[in-house]
Symmetry: C2
Subunit: 303 residues, 2 copies
């Protein structure tokens, strides 16, 4: 009984901490992407892409991991680094959604950016968000120049031909044909784990973590990315996610290959493994709590 | 007579120096963007976009300006910085050409990237080139970490909402309506001068130039960008440029507003002013020679 009350209290305090962090992220994104005049449609599209209510998984992960690694809660550049990662993520969603890619109509419960602003503006806004993100990282306060340069390199690697771009290309071009489990996992790595990894490496740079910790964070990111992508595949058949449903129909996903139950069990394996990577490095309480509660909530919505 | 022979000799030696630099740039771009397997269509599109024979104005400008400012010709990172600027330029051309933007069929004498590889691949390749460029700058050798971070910030500013992205948006959305001379010049600044400016600022960072020199380089970049854009407008009606002709028909350009002769004279005013900015800072011989001979050659082809 006491344990249950303690858990409930912890969960409440975690929820309110996450709410406060989400508010801070929103406020800082709002400052970094100031509203322009009425004719500034690219600026408006950038704001809509980055500020529309989202889960903010990546920037929250960056903040929580940095705190877990001992980074000062008042670090002057940490929020900016988190916002930069969210800008990259928002840019990638805007591009994934355009007609010649996934041709999606709905994202975060709203019409997609190209549906609101036109395809030309959506593409330009994505490029500007991406480019802005690198500028924000390069100018983040409270970080040594060496860490800034390394953080730019991490982000660049996560976006480029060995990251998001390759993941999206494979998904577009190989998703419709039969793929092995390994091929699907590789694509999921590129689509999701690479940006998680950059996110955590940037947190580690801000917290001045050791190479050993950084290596463990890399393993954690890979498991987390896999779990995340499996959750996304499981969610595809469900309404209420704020995205188009059944986009994966006919697509070679692990759900199609192994069935939903096997995928759920594999998801839990990845979470368990992710957990272990963090526990070995003696850090990661807030990060782990966040990860577990988030996955529990999401899995509960479509069980 | 002697002066003419000296000029001819200088011109020959300049031509062979430029050829050697262009070869070095091509070779380094080839290394930075290695050919992938047969299925790596994004990688192939990146290579085609960056390696197709181009004028290499921006990277040459970066190298020559850095040499003029006293940078060692064996600086280990200078070529990489120049390649990064060319990657950004190539990415911007690939995006400008796609159907929802300028819908161009021909570029550098070849079918545009989306015509060769499809629109999805063209967009992904542009994003990867752009992201790669930031990574190359962040890792450039022989530069202090502070200079790397500043160079990333310069490049980010040149691409984003106050640079190429805004220039392309205005050109797309306001080009068809009547514009004032000032509005056209502003758009040309965004489309062209901003990346020239970043190019020269990065050269200045590599050469450890003073703030006063950097300020003059900024003024030089603005004039050069304006001259460049006027040349581009003058060239639009001509064949043999390797691009679609008459793309500006019905567009509000300075050629349409003032006529070709007035634009030629304005172009020369900008070149003169550019010259003066460089002469004041007691540097810039190779840069100025390059600029003058390039404009003379180009103007001669369609006079």
């Amino acid at each position: 009984m006491t344990a249950t009350i303690t858990n409930a209290k912890e969960s409440l305090s975690q929820e309110s901490e996450l709410r406060a962090l989400r508010d801070a992220l929103h406020q800082r994104l709002d400052q970094l992407l100031p509203a322009g005049g009425e004719r500034d449609r690219v600026g408006a599209a950038m704001r809509e892409g980055a500020l529309a209510p989202g889960k903010r998984i990546r920037p929250l992960l960056l903040l929580l991991a940095a705190y877990d690694l001992g980074c000062d809660k008042n670090h002057p550049g940490l929020l900016d680094l988190a916002c930069a990662v969210e800008m990259v993520h928002a840019a990638s969603l805007m591009l994934d959604d355009i007609p010649c890619m996934d041709n999606a109509a709905l994202r975060r419960g709203r019409p997609t950016i190209h549906r609101q602003f036109g395809q030309d503006v959506a593409i330009l806004a994505a490029v500007a968000l991406l480019s802005n993100a690198f500028g924000v990282v390069a100018g983040a306060e409270g970080l040594s120049d060496a860490c800034r340069a390394q953080a730019v390199a991490e982000l660049s690697a996560a976006v480029g031909l060995q990251g998001l771009v390759q993941g999206q290309f494979r998904d577009l071009n190989e998703g419709a044909t039969a793929r092995s489990e390994e091929a699907i996992a590789d694509t999921n790595d590129l689509k999701t784990s690479m940006l998680f990894s950059a996110t955590l490496q940037i947190a580690a740079l801000a917290a001045d973590a050791t190479p050993a910790v950084r290596q463990k964070l890399g393993c954690f990111a890979r498991d987390l990315g896999q779990a995340f992508q499996l959750l996304d595949d499981l969610a595809d058949g469900c309404s209420g996610t704020g995205k188009d449903i059944n986009k994966d129909a006919g697509k070679s996903t692990l759900v199609a290959l192994l069935g939903a139950e096997a995928v759920r069990s594999r998801l839990h394996e990845h979470l368990h493994s992710a957990d272990q990577h963090l526990s070995v490095c003696q850090h990661g309480l807030a990060t782990r709590r966040f990860m577990h509660s988030w996955f529990s909530q999401q899995l509960a919505t479509f069980s």
